[in-house]
Symmetry: C2
Subunit: 406 residues, 2 copies
């Protein structure tokens, strides 16, 4: 095997996750082992740092500190929302050539996979020997060909632990509680709330996903039924819920959620939760109605992580370095489930992953479109990691009354 000598560049893109630095550290530690690697650079703020030549020399980072960074959530190199076009990718490639960068690892979602694909094509066209690998990362769990993606299990665990708490809170002080979860197109993260259903009357009692059309009438009817049956109701709702035409629900009711300029914000705000709260208050005459928007904590909260996710995120980083440097391969690393529970990693052509979105399969959603199935819970369970906590209830009998009831 002829050895391609040069630098490694690793970068992180898109929204941070709890384990994105595991993948970074996996790439760095593995790459540093190869004698043909002259330097391991980390690009500051993703592709933006590449075109601005802002690199940290990770060859000079201590192993101990790398291990501490690995357990710290959110991109240690900084991230970016830049979505490179062909021109931008040319600039990336130009900097790579100048620095004799021969290996590029980009940790990110499907947009990042697309960037890797374009840069790689330019290298091929220029007959520049180059290996580029996309390392999956997204709390949305929406990358095709992956059983699941690093970052999702930890975010799912956060959502699950949140809803265990919200259900207990709602049980102690009954009413209707609506929790809004991230996920614009894929409902996996919202669906993770269903782990909180331990006892038969535990919430979330209703789970609404972007994969099924949402109508306000059906929603109010569902809530009304649960509330009449249990005297309380916990709802998990994806921020991306939409009508049958794909129009986000918040846009349809924009007269209800307004800001100083009458603009509707779709994300990073509590507007959807408040819209639904108002509807329940007004239409169902329930007095205690509250909402929580789980927000950025879902991807950044420090101290809620799945150890399975940590391990896999590290391994996809490590395997990427092996695929590229040892095996001279380009592509996107995928996680494949091989047992219950075991995984293996493969490498797939970039164009099979890039700019594609995986949605919740039909068998994970109930017929009514307002909850998940046991199949989904079976799928999710091993991802949440070890020592997953659960809530317990008092089981003492009611004491006999003395006072005559009139």
């Amino acid at each position: 095997m002829d050895k391609l000598q040069g630098k490694v560049v690793v970068a992180q893109g898109g929204g941070p996750t709890a384990v994105i630095n595991q993948s970074l550290v996996g790439v760095v530690l593995e790459s540093r082992k190869f004698p043909q690697i002259t330097k391991v650079y980390g690009a500051v703020n993703g592709v933006n740092g590449i075109i601005n030549e802002r690199f940290l020399d990770l060859t000079q980072e201590t192993t101990n500190n790398l291990e501490r960074v690995a357990v710290t959530p959110s991109s240690a190199l900084g991230s970016t929302r830049d979505k490179p076009d062909a021109k931008y990718c040319e600039e990336i490639f130009e900097v790579f050539r100048m620095h004799n960068v021969r290996y590029f690892f980009y940790i990110g979602g499907n947009d990042s996979a697309d960037t890797v694909r374009i840069v790689n094509e330019q290298a091929e066209k220029s007959h520049y020997e180059f290996r580029a690998i996309h390392i999956p990362k997204t709390i949305d769990n929406d990358l095709v060909l992956n059983d699941h993606t690093p970052g999702f299990p930890s975010a799912a665990r956060f959502v699950a632990q949140s809803f265990i708490g919200l259900n207990l809170d709602n049980r102690a002080l009954p009413g209707v509680h609506i929790g809004v979860v991230m996920g614009r197109h894929a409902g996996f993260l919202t669906a993770a709330s269903a782990v909180a259903q331990k006892y038969p009357d535990d919430g979330p009692h209703l789970v609404y996903l972007p994969e099924r059309p949402f109508t306000m009438e059906k929603f109010l009817d569902d809530v009304d039924n649960v509330y009449k049956r249990l005297g309380r109701c916990v709802v998990a709702v994806s921020e991306g819920i939409q009508d049958e035409k794909g129009t986000p629900i918040l846009t349809k009711f924009k007269d209800l959620g307004c800001d100083a300029h009458g603009n509707v914000q779709l994300s990073g705000t509590g507007a959807l939760g408040e819209l639904l709260v108002q509807q329940v208050k007004n239409k169902l005459q329930v007095s205690r109605v509250r909402s929580d928007t789980l927000g950025y904590l879902q991807r950044s909260f420090m101290g809620c992580v799945s150890d399975v996710d940590q391990r896999e995120a590290r391994e996809v980083g490590e395997k990427s370095a092996q695929f590229a440097i040892w095996h001279d391969t380009d592509g996107s690393i995928t996680i494949n489930r091989t047992g219950y529970y075991s995984v293996d990693y493969q490498i797939q052509p970039l164009d099979k992953i890039a700019a594609k979105t995986k949605l919740m399969p039909d068998e994970f959603i109930n017929a009514q479109g307002n909850n998940v199935t046991p199949d989904f819970k079976y799928y999710l369970q091993p991802l949440l990691g070890s020592s997953m906590i659960e809530a317990s209830r008092l089981r003492a009998p009611e004491a006999p009354t003395i006072r005559k009831k009139d």
Copy 2:
């Protein structure tokens, strides 16, 4: 010592906390040891369960299950927002007398302390031998005569871990981020966000508390200064921030935060965060401005708890039973700091605790009124419990550039 024979009633009031069931279990396990205790009843939904004679017979609960309930957040007996008046307290007393209840333990905030006080006075007037104890609980940490209150340390830990994450997220994708924390009058919980400040440029860079008058001008000026200096800014804000006259800020700007009916919601919504986001967007022309309202997760999230808090919450329950049953004493249990870090428990007259509010002392707030002091961090540190996590950064040097800068 003459032994007062009869039943124990224990109840939980107000907002749930992560450790409120530790206190419950402390009372139950300790009470069950005394031969003069005929039954240990738990009132369902606080005082409301008492007047409706809804009791669980906790004498028939297994110790194992009690221990599992102890580590479950949110009132296992259910809670209530009822604030009993004299008439209501008479009804409570009537039920107690009927059931030969001789010991009453009410776990709650300062409103609950007041209920205990009134019921106790009625017993005295009626020459009914009776011991009533208030057991402190509030994430607001606002009970007088207490160094701190059970529930606060775990909520503070949740807020701290949240802001560690929000700061990392904001560092990876820079902009202005505003996190809204619970606390209508006392700023302790918001102040806990400051634990996230590890590296000198870590957020939260600004902390706004109800104890200091808030002006929009000063806020915008502060944010502008931090943003110009660091290119980003993380703000922690108490939901209870008010102007110099004590008017909640959200009320003053109600034209900006509206719902379907033009009503302003002060709590359980993201309205304050969104108001501040709009102000920063409009007045400072910062494009990436986001807010998170930490919401009910602060008091109910399952899996983020301070072991110090757990231990103390258990002990205040246990000590209550000892004070009442062994020592024939009434009152409110207080936590007193005796060293760094050690505590002792005392019992105080109910009227010294009831319906009073403790605020952040001046030495915990900086001169500018927009952050906390090292004194506060020193106070808070031991409460957060063991294995408090911290974030780590890459420290690798920047690599030399090659491309000529123009």
